[in-house]
């Protein structure tokens, strides 16, 4: 009986105080839930190490993460599908991106790797385990370039390395070299093909 009376007294607190307690408890639970969710959301990035690993993203998201526009080719062969089949970024700001263009008919794919800033290298996480078989100096328009034959995971690629506005760019193909060179010449930073 005594407990019941004290409970009644407790519950008969002034309305404003009760409302304040209710709101404070609610705010506390919302904040705790939000913090727990944010911690759980950040955990995989923390475990994987955002600086080293590459992440699969959209084109917009890649540019947002890198803080820079990606160079894209003005010449885009019909055989390649748009949008890109896969985009990966590594290193966040001052990092790099790898864009995979798949062929519509399942033919030879093409890859574009680009650093976000002049002077920054292309992250190793994006270059993958590649072996240079041979290389020679060449030009892309007026820019000096290196054309190399490389093995990536046992698959042979033709690779053209050069700079666009001071940023390191690498274009790879398993197909036609002329197509690769034409695309390399048409690479530009501003504007985008949609």
């Amino acid at each position: 009986m005594t407990q019941s009376v004290s409970q009644t007294v407790q519950r008969a607190r002034p309305g404003a105080l009760e409302l304040a307690r209710m709101a404070a408890t609610l705010a506390y639970v919302v904040a705790a839930t939000g913090a727990a969710l944010a911690a759980l959301g950040a955990l995989p990035r923390w475990i994987a190490g955002d600086a080293a690993a590459s992440r699969r993203v959209s084109l917009d998201e890649a540019e947002r993460r890198l803080g820079a526009r990606l160079p894209l080719p003005a010449y885009y062969p019909e055989r390649l599908a748009w949008p890109p089949a896969e985009i990966r970024v590594a290193g966040g700001r001052q990092g790099a991106a790898r864009v995979l263009f798949a062929a519509r008919d399942g033919g030879a794919p093409l890859e574009l790797l680009a650093a976000a800033e002049p002077g920054s290298p292309i992250a190793d996480a994006l270059l993958e385990d590649r072996t240079v078989l041979s290389s020679r100096k060449t030009t892309v328009g007026v820019h000096p370039a290196t054309l190399a034959s490389v093995l990536v995971d046992g698959v042979s690629w033709q690779e053209l390395a050069f700079e666009v506005d001071g940023r390191a760019v690498l274009l790879r193909t398993q197909g036609d070299l002329d197509e690769l060179v034409r695309m390399a010449k048409s690479l530009h930073i501003e504007g985008r093909r949609r």
């Binding site: 407990q3 019941s4 409970q7 009644t8 519950r11 309305g15 009760e18 409302l19 209710m22 709101a23 408890t25 609610l26 506390y28 639970v29 919302v30 705790a32 839930t33 939000g34 969710l37 944010a38 759980l40 959301g41 995989p44 990035r45 475990i47 994987a48 690993a53 992440r55 699969r56 993203v57 959209s58 917009d60 998201e61 947002r64 993460r65």
Partner: protein, 329 residues
């Protein structure tokens, strides 16, 4: 591609229900909600989230599914776990499979007794003459009047095993056996009958089938299954409170409940016709004992006082949850 989209929606529904149920449980404990009706209202909010609000969010805000929202605005993105791998499969897929499997297991644990009960011979009413049926028939009308319902028909079973439950959606009935009347003293019998009539008054048989339908719909959602069970327990507690208020003897109800629980453990299970009954039946005997213990403790502790601003609390909890889960993808 389409299946990946559905897998994403399933994952989000599971995740949202999990967050909603934990959030609501935290509120139930922080606010010290003792009234079973208020507890049930808050928990139903968590149950309603995957059924109503989550589909509404998916349809009304498709941009939430995009990369930009996920990376820029979301406080938690389940997909971010896809960056980690275990045994060649990403962790996002692992946890979707794990949670979906757990949900299916919890659902089947309650479905199985129901299906098994259906395969047993149906209950056959015995002769309703003699002192035992008369004792029940005499108590029912007065209790029904107190609960403001029509007196439901009684199905009397001429068997020694104690049986007492309500059944029927459109035409509810009280099923009681000779063993129950013999086991309980008149006050306990009156209190136990009042409990079953409180279920009838609250249309719990209908609600239990609706809950079972929702559980079937959400059969891969473990949090939904767990919260649905908690709501079923709240329905029992609510019926206890209404019965105690009607018969005015909390001790008799607790004592009757305990006697029936102890006695039913000695007898083979009786086929039940309601999912709620199946929920609290055979497979989790220990959990059931714990539930009965808690119900008895609550009855002995005295009537719980409802918190002020009960509806405001439910509304605020729902609004806060919606705002929070908008940013969980």
């Amino acid at each position: 591609m389409e299946s990946a989209k559905w897998a994403e929606i399933l994952a989000q529904a599971i995740l949202h229900t999990l967050v909603a149920s934990l959030f609501v449980e935290a509120l139930v404990r922080s606010w010290r909600v003792a009234d079973p009706g208020q507890r049930m209202a808050l928990r139903v909010t968590a149950l309603g989230y995957p059924l109503v609000l989550f589909p509404a969010l998916v349809l009304a805000f498709p941009a939430r599914g995009g990369d930009e929202f996920r990376e820029r605005w979301a406080i938690f993105a389940g997909r971010s776990w896809a960056d980690l791998h275990f045994l060649g499969i990403d962790l996002f897929t692992w946890w979707v499979l794990l949670f979906a499997g757990l949900g299916a297991l919890l659902f089947l644990m309650d479905l199985w007794p129901l299906v098994r009960g259906r395969r047993r011979p149906r209950l056959v009413a015995g002769p309703a003459d003699g002192p035992e049926p008369a004792a029940v028939a005499g108590a029912l009308p007065e209790l029904a009047r107190a609960l403001d319902i029509a007196t439901p028909p009684m199905v009397f079973l001429d068997r020694e095993a104690p049986v007492l439950f309500c059944t029927g959606v459109r035409r509810p009935a009280i099923v009681v056996s000779r063993g129950t009347v013999a086991l309980l003293d008149p006050d306990e019998l009156r209190a136990a009958l009042a409990h079953e009539l409180a279920h009838v008054s609250g249309r719990d048989p209908l609600k239990s089938w609706i809950a079972m339908g929702a559980r079937a719909l959400m059969c891969l959602n473990p949090a939904f299954q767990v919260v649905a069970r908690a709501v079923a327990r709240d329905a029992e507690a609510l019926a206890d409170e209404r019965a105690a208020a009607v018969c005015g003897d909390r001790l008799a109800l607790a004592s009757g409940l305990l006697k029936l629980h102890r006695a039913t453990a000695r007898w083979p299970a009786v086929p039940r016709t309601l999912p709620f009954a199946a929920t609290l039946a055979e497979p989790l005997a220990r959990v059931r004992s714990r539930d009965v213990e808690l119900r008895c403790r609550r009855l002995l502790d005295g009537a719980p006082l409802p918190l002020p601003y009960g509806r405001v609390r439910v509304l605020l909890a729902g609004a806060a949850l919606t705002a929070l889960l908008f940013f969980v993808v």
